[in-house]
Amino acid sequence: MAVAEQQPLAEGTRTAQARVPTVIVDDVHIVYKVYGAGTGKGNAATALARLVLRRGGNPNVRRVHAVRGVTFTAYRGEAIGIIGSNGSGKSTLLRSIAGLLPVESGRIYTDGQPSLLGVNAALMNDLTGATNVLLGGLAMGMSQEEIQQRYQGIVDFSGINDKGDFISLPMRTYSSGMAARLRFSIAAAKNHDVLLIDEALATGDRQFQKRSEARIRELRKEAGTVFLVSHSNSAIRDTCDRVVWLEKGELLMDGPTEEVLTAYEAHTGK
């Protein structure tokens, strides 16, 4: 709470006017259940015994308190990097902002529907890349004409066809990098009010990373808010003007990119 309340002082002087909030995270705690975490032996007899006995809940379910009381407000036109070591709750927080994970307590308010773009969010593997472009666009609420207009742009941006006609092959034949590139291209084709990106930039090659960083800057100009979870400090420096540092589910620091990254690098001993 205290950290977040200092925030308006630092930020307020820079863009005092026309600061329209797009995402408000209010004292959010996130607890999720992990299945299959216990020591229960995985055979039929023990599973049945668990069902019959029902002693003190399922030992295979463990509760993980991933985010503990995080508060901040994001404004229109900001690109916010979220940093922290592995398991610090970055992706969990992002999934909650996207409305995919319920919060235990606190509230998350958003402007419109945030779109989460993650590396492991597979589209339809049995279908061709071209069909995925069409279906992804339709699912996001674009019209058929809109998709037809942007189709070539999406394919070119993804670079899928650079090495032959891959767009007409099923997505299961793609490499993980290719699939991630196509997914990013589909999602970035639409102007989102709030776009959440989870490590998506790390999967593409250098050339694609440059292209997607440019697209993120473009999306910000179109009055959107972009969140970026990344372990690459250079990617965050190139795209973000504000950084939120999470550690063990708590908000450690929130401020201008350089300031927070310097502290973070000192902390990680870089």
């Binding site: 709470m1 909650s96 319920p102 606190g106 279906l135 609420g141 058929q144």
Partner: protein, 312 residues
């Protein structure tokens, strides 16, 4: 929850309110959200708004069903031919067992047409329900990646089954013609019969989709329930011949079974020797009633958990 954040906030405002550069600084997060019209993330829209959103995605539903149908047999060498082969082989197997070996055909005129109609209509409901069970749980990648009304999924899957059925209908019509039936105006009754059945299937599929998204064991259990349902639905034998001496309760129960109703209607439409005397009383009313109950009930039931799909 709300009281806690309220108190912390009032405290924070009283103590540490910065020199107000904008009017927003003194507002609590919930007040700020209200001022700029932000909504709680992941909240479920109202039923009317949800229906409007769903209607907005009708092209998505249609294209999704088309694409999945096309992709279904891409791994098989005979490809799309299986769309017709599967129902045909099913009919052949049941004809061999029930028509030739056991001999339920005694007392049924044109048993082949009778049997094949039953199998195809039953398969439509059966595969819609099975697809419904996995409509949400089998598409988590898509559901977690993109935002759209989740009811699109079960609807698209039953639409796929409808397309499949229409392929089967060509086989059915060929068989029915070969067995000496002549096309007449009553064949048109197939359209309202299949339409009400599709609505019924979609409603049940939406119920199954919600159940299947939480109970992962359902996909293992369903084949047994469905098989029981099939054997009580008169797919392979005439219920009338079997229940001549049964109590009326059983007769009525078997007669209002939705699958029996839809099968009877299709048989009535296609087979001349299947007369209206063989139809249960008020059959169209029952068909319509099941479609309305399952359709509306299933839709509302599915919508009630909209914000929970793909979570966890």
């Amino acid at each position: 929850m709300s009281t806690v954040s309220e108190t912390t906030h009032n405290g924070a405002v009283a103590v540490g309110a910065p020199p107000a550069s904008t009017a927003d600084d003194g507002l609590s997060p919930s007040q700020l959200a209200a001022k700029y019209g932000l909504s709680v993330s992941g909240a479920r829209p109202g039923l009317a708004e949800y229906t409007r959103q769903l209607w907005g995605r009708r092209h998505f539903i249609n294209e999704f069903a088309k694409a999945r149908t096309a992709a279904q047999y891409t791994q098989a060498r005979l490809g799309q031919l299986w769309q017709v082969m599967t129902p045909l082989l099913n009919a052949a197997v049941y004809y061999l067992i029930f028509g030739v070996l056991i001999g339920t055909r005694k007392g049924v005129d044109n048993f082949i047409a009778f049997l094949v109609t039953g199998i195809f209509i039953w398969t439509f409901t059966q595969s819609s329900i099975m697809a419904g069970v996995k409509a949400v749980s089998g598409n988590l990648g898509l559901i977690r990646a993109l935002h759209f009304p989740r009811a699109s999924m079960p609807i698209a899957f039953t639409l796929m089954q409808l397309q499949q059925l229409i392929m089967s209908l060509f086989v059915l019509v060929a068989i029915v013609l070969m067995t000496g039936e002549t096309p007449d105006a009553s064949w048109l009754l197939l359209i309202p019969a299949l339409l009400t059945q599709w609505i019924f299937n979609t409603g049940v599929a939406m119920v199954m989709a919600r159940l299947g998204s939480k109970m992962t064991d359902l996909a293992q259990l369903m084949p047994f329930i469905l098989r029981t349902w099939m054997y009580t639905s008169g797919v392979m034998y005439s219920i009338d011949n079997l229940t001549q001496h049964s109590p009326t309760v059983i007769k009525v129960l078997l007669d209002i079974n939705p699958v029996t109703v839809y099968i009877d209607l299709a048989r009535f439409a296609l087979i001349d020797s299947f007369t209206s005397a063989q139809l249960p009383p008020h059959v169209w009313l029952i068909a319509l009633g099941w479609a309305a109950v399952a359709g509306v009930g299933g839709y509302v039931y599915f919508w009630k958990a909209e914000e929970q799909y793909g979570r966890g």
